[in-house]
Symmetry: C2
Subunit: 373 residues, 2 copies
């Protein structure tokens, strides 16, 4: 947890002279005792000591970004009142490489990813935690950029970051910054969504174009330039979910096809529900640029990560109502019916190909794209 | 979040033959397609892919350890019913080095640390998340040892690990394993505890011997052997807190003096409450072995981390009742009155030394003991 470290001391010391975000300007002649001086503007091990520099980092970089009444107390824990009911609780660590990419950065992902894990249970996301593992030597300016992204994403999603933690590890024991977010939300009465609720005859909907996040990361990693820059689709999906829940009380399954892509997520659902799923290749929404890049790199877009898309499984009779609600939402404009649930072998996913064949879409064994989120 | 990855496929594949904990026994002749084969018994990048090997790791190592009805569902989020009221929410990442030490390991710390952050708000800890960032090449046997420790600590504390996440980073971008836990608890009506509630005249209590965790880690790092092995004091403190709350409704402040030790924690409290605190050196509970090792290594025990101790600040009239309740609890047998809150300069902590002098106990600027938790 973040605590109220580093009380300003009454005698003149360097932190009395520093301005927020200006940790690097230490006048070493004014220091009363030896301190670990790292490179200016870089994270040092002392920033993770729980002492003065940890407090400075929290007060100068993190609090100004996330500021809210619960966090500002800097107790060991955030305490908030909640009505009774069903609480949703989730966590994810983010280790994406590179940290910054077109359409977002690790901070954007860390907030949207946890908001979406709550939303996929039909929950209204409310409060997030944020825990940083920072590598010694990481630029404080980059940390400021990441926390600013987190705050933008949190504000956009209507959630507050109310508790957190900062640790520092030696150079060579991290990769810039890793972020964990956990989240708490409230599931409205009557909502019952689970990967185990798909039934034969149900329809499979996808909220938009596949594989954008993964291919944006790959394009950046490989240094590929295109006329149109590929952007991550990272987004908070809870308002889309709420619109869908208003349109239909019959939504059975919601999942965001992140790591492992649409193929892995559908395999999980088919397994959890004990059903088969048949996809229609022609109906899979895919942008031309993404399709092209997948071909160049030899990747199957069905297995490439998304960060702002969801899969919904709904009874056939509700399909039109849910699709209409999705298409009326900015994050669901390109929603499509991509397949249906069958009573074939439990846990199997098939693809009806454009040329009329059928192939199995298995769980990936290996790793197409490491460190994608 | 952990999801239901890796459905067992109907055709014969290696995972049908594997037993839990036996991931290394892959018969490569039976494999239908190229898989990334790392060293046997070691974590590979594919274990973090979100595909089949991630699922195997979760089903064979993590679920058997943590098994409970909420986790077993493997949804994107755990959903549980809670009565309305005040919810406490906290997070901590753990990067301790070495991972295993006398008295516990990173898994024990990760559970007890978050349980204690909830307990320091007077909350009853209920549910934890667990997120792992594992370095490629980490021994699966060590992961099994860590999750077994987590489960033992969770059972002992009466909490359930209900949601989680696993990421893998390349060799040289981690240090074996980093663990984040977040926690949710319920604050009983009437309990109002905050670092900002210390008032002049209040007494400062410490629940037992100082500096045990930090010195156990240091002894292990430095390869120092003693007749009596120093053990970490890691423990879950919520039952001690509950006993104290039953004895007195006047407890103002609770904090566990972890990173930065008793000195840093008291500085935080003095600052948050706008008071001074005066400690009595003679009354500080310190074991002879710990005192000796601190002298050898040139460390001040006031600044060394504890993992199973708490500081309580209580009105003078409640001191005896609270101390008696603490001493009647196994984790508070050596509880002591160590000082009092004053109306001196706000944010200052002083020590009345054994020889009759007074010295200032400031926030540490640098880092005595990096990677201590």
């Amino acid at each position: 947890m973040w605590q109220r470290n580093a009380p300003p001391s009454p005698q003149p010391q360097w932190d009395d002279e520093s301005r927020p975000g200006n940790i690097e300007e230490v006048d070493i002649l004014q220091l009363a005792c030896p301190v670990p001086i790292g490179e200016p503007g870089k994270i040092t091990l002392a920033h993770g000591s729980g002492g003065k520099l940890t407090g400075d980092l929290i007060r100068q970089v993190i609090l100004p970004a996330f500021r809210n009444p619960l966090l500002d107390k800097l107790e060991d824990q955030a305490v908030f009142a909640m009505a009774g009911g069903r609480i949703a609780f989730t966590t994810d660590s983010f280790v994406v490489s590179p940290l910054f990419f077109p359409g977002g950065d690790i901070g954007t992902l860390a907030v949207n990813g946890t908001v979406n894990d709550l939303a996929m249970g039909g929950a209204t996301p409310l409060y997030l935690s944020a825990a940083f593992i920072i590598e010694e030597g990481f630029a404080i300016a980059d940390l400021e950029r990441v926390v600013a992204s987190m705050q933008r994403a949190a504000s956009a999603a209507g959630v507050a970051i109310v508790t957190g933690d900062t640790k520092v590890v030696e150079k060579g024991h991290g990769d810039g910054i890793y972020i964990n977010t956990a989240g708490v939300g409230l599931v409205p009465p009557g909502v019952e969504i689970s990967a185990s609720r798909a039934r034969p005859g149900d329809k499979v909907l996808l909220s938009g174009f596949m594989a954008q996040h993964g291919m944006a990361i790959m394009a950046r990693r490989e240094g590929l330039d295109f006329e149109v820059e590929l952007e991550s689709d990272t987004a908070a999906l809870h308002t889309l979910v709420q619109a869908m829940l208003r349109a239909s009380s019959g939504i059975q399954v919601l999942r965001d096809p992140t790591r492992g892509g649409v193929a892995s997520t559908l395999n999980e659902i088919a397994q959890a529900s004990g059903v088969s799923i048949e996809l229609d290749e022609e109906s899979l929404p895919l942008q031309l640029e993404v399709e092209g890049l997948c071909e160049i790199l030899g990747l199957d877009p069905l297995y490439v990560a998304n960060e702002g898309k969801l899969i919904a499984i709904v009874p056939a009779a509700e399909t039109d109502a849910v699709l209409e609600a999705m298409r009326a939402h900015p994050l669901g404009q390109h929603a499509a019916l991509i397949g249906e649930v069958g009573d074939g072998p439990a846990g199997m996913v098939y693809l009806r190909t454009c040329v009329g064949g059928t192939r199995m879409v298995d769980m990936p064994v290996g790793d197409q794209l490491p460190r994608i989120c």
